[in-house]
């Protein structure tokens, strides 16, 4: 066994793997943000709140309807996605064409309202949610103990990320979407209902956030502020990846998870700050992010 800067290499592998798992949350969340930004031109600050709603919805389904994790994994994104569609109809459609700041402030206001409501009804400490029985326990990999649930998180989110990327970049529907962002008038002329497509896209982005929320419920504290704690980091991920770039968001999400994981070993105090250091450097070197197109 060799050592790297005084850390046994095996321990380091463990930390890298952990980083990759956290990265999969970043990837899922930033993917939703990137989809929404790419298609609606809106910086969805309510994304964190919607992620939190996903986790709470899973808790409520279990508590009041007895529906387990697996059912929640399917129902919750649909439910919360539907609330997203309502939000798009009620508010966002009016600010889409304006400067980014307005969309940002509007969704920030929504995030505050959602957080406030949840805090009033559920309190600030949070609610319990257990790991589903099927995924209890874990494997000893020799260099670390890997809980089965974490393995599931990484595999499942990789699949979701890939599927989303594929749907947008490689299918006909995706090509309509991309075309609609480039030139909505032209796409409309082809008989495609652009406003409806935009509405559904927002719903889909929100559903992704909710899905991440369900996946987070068994391992992170299900509390009203869980979203506001993570939103700014996810935001940074999207910027580093290049605003609106699907692939950029996914890859940056995973990569930053790993970098953060390493920081937690070598300079743990800075693990929340490292992401901003990277963002500053990336923006200085590559103005439009790693995978972004320069405007």
């Amino acid at each position: 066994m060799f050592e790297i800067f005084g850390i046994p290499s095996q321990a380091l592998f463990g930390q890298l793997l952990i980083g990759l798992i956290n990265g999969s949350f970043y990837a899922l969340l930033s993917l939703g943000l990137a989809v929404i930004f790419g298609m609606l031109n809106i910086i969805n600050f309510a994304h964190g709140a919607q992620y939190m709603m996903g986790a709470f919805a899973a808790y409520l389904l279990l508590q009041y309807l007895g529906l387990n994790y697996w059912v929640a994994l399917i129902i919750v994104p649909v439910l919360i996605g539907a609330t997203g569609i309502v939000v798009e109809r009620l508010f966002l459609q009016y600010v889409r064409k304006l400067d980014h700041v307005y969309g940002l402030i509007l969704t920030f206001g929504l995030a505050l309202m959602i957080e406030g409501f949840f805090r009033n009804y559920f309190g600030s400490s949070g609610e319990p949610y257990q790991v589903p029985n099927l995924l209890l326990g874990g494997q000893n990999l020799g260099f670390m103990y890997l809980p089965t649930y974490r393995a599931w998180v990484i595999v499942f989110s990789a699949i979701v990320c890939f599927a989303t990327w594929f749907a947008i970049e490689r299918t006909r529907l995706g090509s309509y979407l991309r075309a609609a962002t480039e030139n909505p008038a032209l796409v409309r002329a082809f008989g495609i209902n652009v406003p409806r497509m935009v509405m559904l896209t927002y719903g889909f982005g929100v559903a992704l956030a909710a899905l991440a929320g369900v996946m987070a419920a068994p391992i992170y504290n299900v509390s009203p502020q869980m979203g506001s704690d993570i939103i700014i980091v996810v935001f940074a991920v999207v910027v580093i990846g290049g605003m609106g770039s699907i692939l950029g968001a996914i890859l940056t999400g995973f990569a930053l998870g790993i970098i953060e994981g390493l920081t937690k070993v070598f300079f743990p105090e800075a693990s929340n700050t490292v992401i901003f250091v990277i963002m500053a450097i990336v923006l200085l070197v590559r103005p439009a992010g790693l995978f972004g197109r320069t405007a």
Partner: protein, 322 residues
């Protein structure tokens, strides 16, 4: 990125200076009598934030660069002023100058790095720099971590005026804030300010006219940071404390909201916005749990119905410059 300030405001009757002087007189009159009706500490807090929002407005409203890291200057000036006054025994005027000057230096460094980027990327780079300095504030021994620097002495201004007296402090804050306000107004209406507005409307054209826009933007950034620092340093003396809240990104967000609610790119908008947000924070505090929901609802409402901000809408309605 389209300009944040609505050009409709610019289509005004006459040269517009009369409405401005009337509004300025009204503002001064209001602040002169206000302490007899409203609580002076609340007013001083509102004044500090008003100056902060005006400084932010100089950069965002008139140059069109949205900073999401202005807490960096506000908060750090606040810390350094508090530290100078408490640990080094600086008199208040020197402590404030020290805080303000530090903000100018920070502004020079941050501005140098940030001004080469536009739009949302500019916002993000300022956010990143501010968060890095937040980290320093958490770790540096002199800031006292989450306890902050407490019990900062207000001292005697120029060795003459005892600032621990509430009304003396109020007059000092009012005079300083008005001076800062007039300075910004002067900058906006100078030839330099005209170039800034030209950059906001169309930067390539300004470049083609031979202006070195980078230098103009950097200077505007430093000025904005300096005045924001002045506001932060004042606030440290008003409350006799400096804390992490003022360097955290939420504070950067709050100043965006103040300027936006009042009206970006208007002269008086940031003052009105700051006043409203501080009033909301102070008076909503009494109603407890619903604070967040009400605040959120107000932001949503503002974006949907009051996009030019209160002063912007008023100016557009009266067709005057405000």
């Amino acid at each position: 990125m389209a300009s944040l300030a609505d050009p409709a405001i610019l289509s005004t009757r006459g040269d517009g200076t009369r409405s401005l002087s009337v509004a300025f007189a009204a503002m001064v009159a209001f602040f002169a009598v206000a302490p007899f009706f409203l609580y002076p500490i609340f007013l001083m807090q509102a004044l500090c934030f008003a100056l902060f929002a005006c400084a932010f407005n100089l950069l965002t409203g008139y140059v069109g660069l949205l900073s999401f890291g202005h807490a960096l200057f506000f908060g750090w000036a606040s810390y350094l002023c508090a530290h100078a006054a408490k640990s080094w025994g600086f008199p208040p005027e020197a402590a404030i100058l020290f805080g303000t000057f530090s903000a100018a230096v920070l502004g020079l460094v941050a501005g140098f790095l940030a001004i080469r980027r536009h739009g949302i990327y500019f916002a993000m780079i300022t956010l990143a720099l501010a968060q890095m300095m937040y980290f320093v504030a958490v770790r540096a021994p002199f800031t006292g971590g989450e306890d902050g620097i407490q019990d900062v002495p207000r001292g005697r201004l120029f060795g003459l005026f005892d600032l621990s007296h509430e009304m003396t402090m109020y007059v000092f804050v009012l005079v300083t804030v008005l001076a800062g306000f007039l300075l910004i107004y002067r900058i906006i209406n100078s030839p330099f300010g005209e170039v800034l507005k030209a950059i906001r409307e169309n930067e390539p054209r300004a470049i083609s006219l031979g202006y070195k826009t980078e230098r103009y933007k950097l200077l505007a950034f430093v000025l904005s940071a300096t005045v924001a620092g002045l506001a932060g340093a004042l606030k440290a003396l008003v409350f006799q404390l400096a804390s992490l809240t003022d360097v955290y990104w939420t504070m950067s967000g709050e100043v965006v909201l103040m300027a936006l609610v009042g009206g970006l790119g208007t002269v008086f908008g940031p003052v009105v916005g700051a006043f409203l947000i501080v009033a909301m924070e102070t008076y909503l505090a009494q109603i407890g749990q619903w604070v967040l929901v009400i605040q959120g609802a107000i932001f949503v409402f503002c974006v949907l119905a009051f996009r030019r901000g209160i002063v912007g809408e008023l100016a557009a309605f009266l067709r005057v410059k405000l």
